[in-house]
């Protein structure tokens, strides 16, 4: 009888042990993301910044790391999808790419993608299966002053298993945004047809500086030594040039810096596509020079190269 009770206890223990061993295989899941954490230092080269980071996202039905029952997972980022210096923001456009299917899904802060992403087993034996893509448009970058911009994005992957069903990875992006300058909204300058009198044409354009500080300008012509000249291959006509930063037209000497210009525009590197143009290049062709130097009629052309620098 004592042996019978021992056998009963053994069977009970065995039942419990079997139950314990069997239960996780059917009721728990596993989700994981690697590498983690991630820190990315960004560099701005005057254009959109595009960031890509690949991950291995494990998403299986079983908690055992060796489980190979792959199930789909979801992605959520809750923090604003932007870089910030604490005052100013650089918004970005984020997306999550399922590298197994090739499908890219836009991300919205605080909104889950739903369990549509293809998971993988431990260590992603077929290679990384996920990619975070972030694009910071150049217009958003030039809209803010120089400084240090950063954000830690809480990338959370999750599935609907009963075990560990969500995992959060911190992806930090840093950007040291330098001061910068740009000349834009430049058009060709058409002096028209000479009719016996001086011709003066002014061309408005945009000088952007991220900090709004002063700038210098150097204008170089296409004549020898940077001379301001128009030519048709046979005759050469000199012309004069001026620069007006809003304080009055100042004479330009060819290939010579005109320093300490003011009224640079900040916040838009195109002056809102020309609506806020803040400088004028003036070109004057003197009748006296046409008389003295034109040796053949026809179209005379030249180029002016405009170089701006921060001061």
């Amino acid at each position: 009888m004592a042996l019978g009770r021992q056998n009963d206890r053994k069977r009970s223990l065995l039942a419990v042990l079997v139950t314990v061993l069997l239960f996780p295989c059917f009721a728990h899941a596993r989700v994981d993301i690697d590498p983690r954490p991630v820190t990315i230092d960004l560099t701005w080269n005057g254009a959109d910044i595009t960031v890509t980071q690949d991950f291995c996202v494990v998403s299986t039905a079983g908690a055992n790391p060796n489980n190979n029952s792959v199930i789909d997972y979801a992605v959520t980022i809750t923090v604003p999808l932007e870089l910030t210096d604490g005052v100013n923001q650089i918004p970005g456009n984020f997306s999550w790419v399922d590298l197994t299917t090739g499908v890219s899904t836009p991300l919205t802060a605080g909104v889950s993608t739903g369990e549509i992403m293809t998971g993988s087993t431990q260590n992603c034996p077929g290679g990384n299966n996920a990619r975070l893509v972030a694009v910071f448009p150049n217009a958003n970058i030039t809209a803010v002053p120089p400084g240090f911009y950063t954000q830690t994005f809480d990338v959370e992957v999750s599935n609907s298993g009963g075990g560990r069903k969500r995992f959060r990875n911190n992806v930090t992006m840093n950007l040291n945004l330098p001061d910068s300058i740009r000349v834009s909204e430049v058009d060709d300058i058409l002096l028209g047809t000479y009719s016996g009198a001086d011709i003066t044409v002014t061309e408005s354009l945009c000088v952007f500086r991220a900090s709004g500080g002063n700038y210098g300008v150097t204008v170089t012509g296409s004549g020898a030594g940077g001379a301001f000249e128009l030519s048709n291959g046979a005759s050469v006509l000199p012309f004069e040039a001026t620069w007006n930063d809003g304080t009055g037209a100042a004479a330009l000497a060819p290939a010579t810096l005109l320093a300490n210009r003011v009224n640079a525009v900040a916040g838009t590197d195109t002056c809102n596509n020309g609506a806020l143009n803040n400088a004028e290049l003036g070109i004057t062709l003197r009748a006296a020079d046409v008389d003295l130097f034109t040796t053949s009629p026809g179209v005379h052309t030249g180029t002016v190269t405009i170089l701006v620098e921060m001061q």
């Binding site: 910068s180 834009s184 430049v186 028209g192 005379h300």
Partner: protein, 174 residues
């Protein structure tokens, strides 16, 4: 007799050439930035007659012909030849009385546009004249370019008065 008055005229023949397609370039954002603009002007074929002066023939002494001249020059921005047409305010080459006289005094006009000066027929193009310069400026006058001659018979036939006309010269590049 008062001098004839010469009026300068500059005739310009257009030479329009179509321009090529140009494109300005914009600077990029950076530590410095550089853009470029193409500047274009069309210079037509141009001509200038310059350096003319009034011709004061003075008072007729009663005998002999009278002759007077003016300097002048014709300059272009490339053309080497031109045509010239002479007309006058009177509508013909005749000095007009300035007072009560009713007579007129015919005269001839000679232009030294080549090595052989040519007598100009009223309102008739005299072609193939040689330019004095192929730049428009300064176009300084050359002595003896325009000559006016009056014959003794015509002077003796005229009533006492002051006589005047304006010669109009039109030049066109060839």
């Amino acid at each position: 007799m008062k001098a004839t008055k010469i009026v300068n005229l500059v005739a310009a023949a257009g030479l329009m050439a179509s321009g090529s397609a140009f494109a300005a370039t914009q600077g990029t954002v950076g530590a410095t930035s550089q853009g470029q603009s193409v500047v274009t002007v069309t210079i037509p074929s141009l001509i200038r007659i310059n350096g003319l002066t009034d011709i004061a023939l003075g008072t007729y002494a009663g005998t002999g012909d009278m002759s007077g001249s003016s300097p002048g020059a014709v300059c272009t921005n490339g053309a080497t030849n031109y045509g010239i047409v002479a007309t006058s305010a009177a509508g013909l080459f005749e000095l007009q009385p300035q007072g009560a006289a009713t007579t007129t005094i015919p005269y001839t006009v000679t232009w030294a546009g080549t090595a052989t000066p040519a007598q100009l027929t009223y309102n008739t193009n005299e072609a193939n004249q040689d330019v004095d310069a192929t730049v428009l400026g300064p176009c300084a006058g050359v002595a003896g370019k325009l000559t006016v001659d009056i014959l003794e018979a015509d002077l003796q036939a005229a009533s006492a008065d002051d006589y005047q006309d304006t010669v109009i010269l039109t030049v066109t590049p060839e």
